[in-house]
């Protein structure tokens, strides 16, 4: 369906050459269409092509998952939570830092896929799936971290409202119970939201595969053929999901923030914690998307066609806007507590600024606020993939420190000075390496099993884009097909 390629022939091409100083529309994916069959082949080839480096990294990650995740967790289960560093006064340690961090990462998928879909932001098209995968895999790590935190994980079913003979019932007054319900809703919702737009691409892969891959895609494609009815049901469902998953996304991280804000502890009891957490989640999520896109583009075949500088540029702008909003909520939270005059809070804030963890506090501000403000206003930086990925990485370091400061560090200074003791992680360090390794391992495996580029969405976008002559200029125009 070569719909949009017509405008680059004859006189229009000459016109373009006369105006070299103008932006060349072909730099944009939407104005540089290829036949659908060619795009399909490119995506399939990117999935089938692996090098020894890929298998080496995969092997290292698999080893780390086996040792740092499964063995370390098994050891902790058999020995008890004493092998972890959690003890009075910081009973909430890195496991919950990881939980909050991974839930934050998971927000990128929903933000990019749902909010940008609702807002009809066209640049989203080639990387919605890469972001949605981050949501699903991030939530798996968040869930695993919560179970690690439980300690006696085999009693996890006590959390669920199941009729029982123990005369125990979950207390719905508790934010931890809200957490369980919200995260369950988000995990199921985002996984279904990942799967629905994937069906047409699985059908495409089914049509081009043989052997075990054919069976795999045939089962997952569910018999999709692209009839008018199938598309109608699918698009209506995706629209419902796009609108419905946004409030769910906001609720999840708001409820996560309430785990802390509902407690009358210095540094935690804050009314802006909800939006502050949501913005923090988006901040780390956007940064993580920049890293993933850079790695995809650098390591997978043909990805430079689908993921272009324009996408990094748009992502960089989003990161800058999110960093402004993040800074606003951070300052709001900080100054109100600082001005309040509560002795324990004063002690905590002074300790953050001058105590042994001050380096973490200031790195957090530097990476999350100062760095994006100093760099992301510059288009050259935004359109340099490795630089944006590096900034995304540092933002994620900053966001990890932020969660670390909020949880174990803030628990150190409380209203009972005789309990003050700095948290020192032990086996948690291995388990953290394990969760990061598992996330990367899942992503690498998925990159070779499912099409990371939603080809049908890209083609749909290319069909709706054209150039319209207005006066002497040819201007990008988008046609509404719906």
């Amino acid at each position: 369906m070569a719909v949009t390629s017509k405008y680059f022939s004859g006189s229009e091409r000459a016109h373009e050459e006369h105006h070299e100083e103008e932006h060349d529309p072909r730099e944009s994916l939407m104005f540089d269409p290829l036949p659908r069959g060619v795009m399909n082949d490119m995506v399939m080839e990117s999935m089938h092509t692996t090098s020894w480096k890929f298998w080496l990294v995969l092997g290292i990650l698999a080893f780390l998952v086996a040792t740092c995740f499964f063995y370390a967790w098994g050891y902790m289960i058999s020995e008890g939570l004493y092998v972890a560093g959690v003890m009075r006064p910081s009973f909430w340690g890195i496991f919950l830092v990881n939980t909050v961090f991974w839930i934050g990462i998971s927000h990128a998928g929903t933000f990019i896929s749902a909010i940008l879909r609702v807002m009809k932001a066209e640049f989203r098209r080639p990387f919605t799936r890469a972001a949605e995968l981050m949501t699903t895999f991030g939530l798996i790590q968040a869930g695993a971290s919560i179970f690690m935190h439980l300690g006696r994980v085999w009693l996890a079913y006590w959390l669920f409202p199941i009729p029982n003979e123990r005369q125990l019932w979950p207390n719905f007054h508790s934010p931890l119970m809200w957490d369980l319900l919200a995260i369950t809703t988000y995990v199921l919702g985002s996984t279904m939201y990942l799967f629905l737009p994937l069906i047409p691409d699985l059908a495409m892969a089914r049509d081009r595969s043989t052997g075990w891959r054919k069976t795999f895609y045939r089962i997952l494609a569910l018999g999709f053929r692209g009839t008018e009815g199938e598309w109608r049901h699918l698009t209506v469902a995706m629209n419902i999901f796009a609108f419905a998953i946004i409030p769910v996304m906001f609720s999840v991280h708001t409820i996560v923030s309430w785990d802390f804000a509902m407690a009358m502890r210095p540094g935690w009891s804050s009314t802006v914690f909800g939006p502050y957490f949501v913005l923090g989640a988006l901040h780390s999520g956007m940064g993580a998307v920049a890293i993933v896109l850079f790695i995809m583009r650098a390591t997978m075949k043909h990805m430079d066609y689908f993921i272009r500088k324009e996408h990094f540029d748009a992502l960089g702008k989003l990161m800058l806007i999110v960093s402004f909003a993040y800074a606003y909520f951070f300052f709001n939270d900080y100054i109100v507590q600082w001005y309040g005059g509560d002795l324990a809070t004063d002690n905590l804030l002074h300790w953050l600024e001058g105590g042994p963890m001050a380096w973490m506090f200031f790195q957090m501000i530097g990476f999350n606020i100062v760095l994006p403000w100093l760099t992301l206003w510059n288009k050259r930086i935004r359109t340099t993939p490795w630089l944006l990925a590096l900034i995304g990485l540092l933002i994620n370091v900053g966001m990890y420190w932020e969660r670390y400061v909020i949880i174990p560090v803030m628990l150190t200074i409380n209203r009972m000075p005789f309990t003050w003791r700095l948290y020192e992680p032990r086996i948690e360090i291995f388990l953290t390496i394990g969760t990061f390794s598992m996330f990367l391992l899942f992503y690498m495996i998925a990159s070779r099993l499912i099409p990371l580029i939603p080809v049908w969405e890209v083609q749909e976008g290319q069909m709706t884009h054209s150039l319209r002559k207005v006066g002497k200029a040819h201007l990008p125009t988008i046609t509404e097909f719906e």
Binding site: F195, L222, T227, H233, A244, E460
Partner: protein, 173 residues
């Protein structure tokens, strides 16, 4: 004589729309025609009726069911397993709103997802009429006509830009 299903493949929307109009003129009704494509195409562009879908109704049904499940969870079950905490109500309204919201959204999303399966008859692993060129971006127009009229229809559709017009049979996808 029983009708045979034919498939006409088109490169672009315009010739496909013209071909569908021609098929209508030649007496092929919408219920004897099926269009398949690799991207969602608004049926109006092809001069076809909008397919009916119950997905949004099922989503609403799911939301209502989730709301009542949330009510039961929050205001019903504490009666069965009372957790009496000093000074706290057995049925607190503000936390109840959170439970209600989460259950309403969860059931709405589940119903939407299952709605796609129900409405599209997924999963369907039977033999079906299909050609892989459709996922390569071609538009496939399947229509049923008597076998003896094949030549007349083939000529008419080829003239309108069909890449091929051939009888088709159900196949394993």
């Amino acid at each position: 004589m029983a009708d045979t299903t034919f498939l006409a493949l088109f490169e672009d929307i315009d010739p496909a729309a013209n071909a569908i109009e021609k098929l209508h003129e030649m007496g092929v009704t919408n219920d004897r025609m099926e269009v398949m494509s690799g991207v969602p195409i608004n049926p109006r562009m092809l001069g076809r009726p909008h397919p009916w879908t119950n997905v949004s109704r099922l989503a609403l049904g799911g939301a209502i069911a989730g709301f009542f499940f949330g009510l039961f969870l929050n205001f019903g079950t504490p009666n069965l397993y009372a957790v009496r905490v000093g000074g706290q109500a057995l049925f607190p309204i503000p936390p109840g709103l959170i439970i209600l919201f989460e259950m309403t959204m969860l059931f709405a999303l589940l119903a939407t997802f299952l709605g796609v399966f129900l409405e599209s008859d997924f999963p369907n692993y039977r033999s079906l009429q299909y050609v892989p060129q459709i996922s390569d971006g071609k538009i496939g127009v399947f229509f049923q006509i008597p076998q003896e009229e094949q030549q007349k229809f083939t000529d008419a559709l080829n003239e309108l830009g069909a890449e091929s017009v051939e009888p088709t049979e159900a196949r394993q996808l």
